[in-house]
Symmetry: none
Subunit: 197 residues, 4 copies
DNA sequence: AATGAATGAGATTTCATTCAT
DNA sequence: TATGAATGAAATCTCATTCAT
């Protein structure tokens, strides 16, 4: 019962952060939307920032977990395509968080540490996948990390543009993944040595 | 003379936004750092948000211009690699803006319109380059746009991680570009049909 | 309970507006005098102007009501004298408002609409009384309105000068009313019995 | 030449005070309308209030002078009517001041002394006229003053309502004066003893 | 646990006035 | 005399947080 209120506060905050951003959303907006009293807020959260961190932590944690589960393991075949596809699905299912994440930046001062940790976590998952697949046999550790970050940036901005800005629905996810997976191949043909180094 | 003060306000704001973010930075911080009086601020800017928009507009405009100039034209050879390389250079030279941009998100409510326009502009430049090179002959318009956005997201997050978080210096730019340009090739080789579409 | 604070804010504002005028009175003065916190003010009033309008509306409303009740009905006998007498009593009992009203003008930009409506309301009451008494049988509507306004102006300035500037007490009201009621007759008749007191 | 600027400042201020009131009008508005520089203002006036006082003093002085000249002397015949008529003409010709006067109240804190003195001056002129005409032979001094103030209040509010609110033009002045002069006569007939008491 | 009125520090913004040129 | 950029004190208003009930 008490937890009901906590949940409704989080729910309300999530919506408001999504629509207006963290700074524009007032505690009074949140409690009003949640249907609880002003003081109740502080029964469950130490401060407004505490709520934001709490939400960010849990949400980014969920995304990270989802990616961990969906983008690892026995993916040898069409590995990259499937990793992208699954990541897109995760972002699609967490559109709200995607919106908040992009609306506050990778380093919104309030949650800079959380968001940094988030990116690092995902990057490590992807790097490990690369190693598992033997994808880039002669890349150094640093290079693998760059490669991993590049995948994250790619998927994230595209997810944001497609799902949030242009409101693509679930039926487009596969074709988007195909574009992302195949996107370098043609270049390869034109200028083969490009990344060969 | 008068413009000196305007410049020092912008300079100070740029530094403070970079360090603390827009919301944490007070007008009083800015004028103090700029060495001008509180009222002087409002001689040059209608409001704090006006300053932010002004800065964002001009900075993102510069980046967009730089990318336009450096990533188009006769790039046939090693086109993608050179586009990535030049983009990284632009981001490196605009580290401050990169930091602010990422610190406030792709859609910081205050400058959402400006930043949306910025991404769209760059995307169009890249799409056009793709068309000029004949890079993805059988991609639809929507697919080309996705491809373009994917490049932007890739370069931007990597630039942020390398230049801002990890403080790589200018000597690494080329090798980062090589990783980004070549990053899919090996995948291609290992799991050839991956993105083949 | 909560309304206590609202009341004390109004009370304090009334005093301060009376003493120093609206523009000179700061919200901080009001809350200080009312013994509440700065923020409390905005719990009950949207703005300083909102408070002023609120006060003006309610006070002028009270005066208008008092005049309506006391200056109409079966007054045939000595009608004008009694109307003036009652109006003076109303103004005397609302000295504070009288002072504010005169201190801010008939058309203080902040409450111009309210004060205009106030004068119009009273004028209409008086015009109706004139009609009820058959006082000016061959006056046009416009002329009756002018006559009504003239009575208001007369009573108001005299009330201000006597009650506010010269601090006459309640015992003088009747004799003032006599002067005002009789003041024109003598002139008319060559002014023989003048103020026959 | 220098005085040109002084004049244009006064002119501009007069217009702006009339339209928006003293407090709403900024010095920057005035100098802008007057076409001079900000600093020039302080070459001619010590402060904004100084300008206001200066304007009020001169304008009210003009009205007082005009009333003095037009409402005294050999007016025996129809004395009251002619005094009212002339006063209305004075107010009509000084509509701007009338508007400012009413817009700021009889006792706008900034010019309270000036405006008090103004009313007192006019009152004395009228009282003297009453004495000259032998209008109210057995009125005490205090009663004569009340009578005089009543005339001022009457004319002023009617002038404001007719000339400012309803924009009557010069052709109506005479008929307004007739209404004001005759306004008590009919009452007299209906309830003869009215002021007798 | 729940309430919501009250708080007050602090932020943004305004604008009369000054002063170096 | 004239300028107008610069000033900074001060005012209004906001809102996260507290606390008595």
């Amino acid at each position: 019962m008490g937890e009901d209120k906590r949940e409704s506060i989080i729910e309300a905050a999530l919506r408001l952060f999504e629509d207006q951003g963290y700074h524009t959303t007032k505690v009074s907006d949140i409690v009003h939307k949640a249907g609880v009293a002003q003081g109740t807020f502080y029964l469950y959260f130490k401060s407004k920032e505490d709520l934001f961190r709490s939400i960010a932590e849990s949400c980014l944690g969920q995304i990270a977990d989802a990616i961990k589960q969906n983008c690892t393991g026995d993916m040898k075949e069409e590995a990259l395509y499937r990793m992208i596809l699954e990541s897109l699905r995760v972002y699609y299912n967490n559109k709200t968080i995607l919106k908040i994440l992009n609306g506050h930046g990778a380093a919104s001062t309030e949650i800079a540490d959380i968001s940094d940790a988030f990116y690092r976590t995902i990057m490590l998952v992807i790097k490990q996948s690369f190693l598992d697949w033997g994808a880039f046999p002669n890349y150094s550790d640093a290079q693998l990390e760059i490669a991993a970050y590049s995948k994250i940036g790619m998927v994230e901005l595209v997810a944001y543009q497609c799902f949030v800005v242009q409101n693509y629905d679930t039926t487009h996810i596969e074709s988007i993944a195909q574009v992302l997976a195949g996107v370098n191949a043609p270049c390869q043909l034109e200028s083969t040595e490009a990344g060969d180094k």
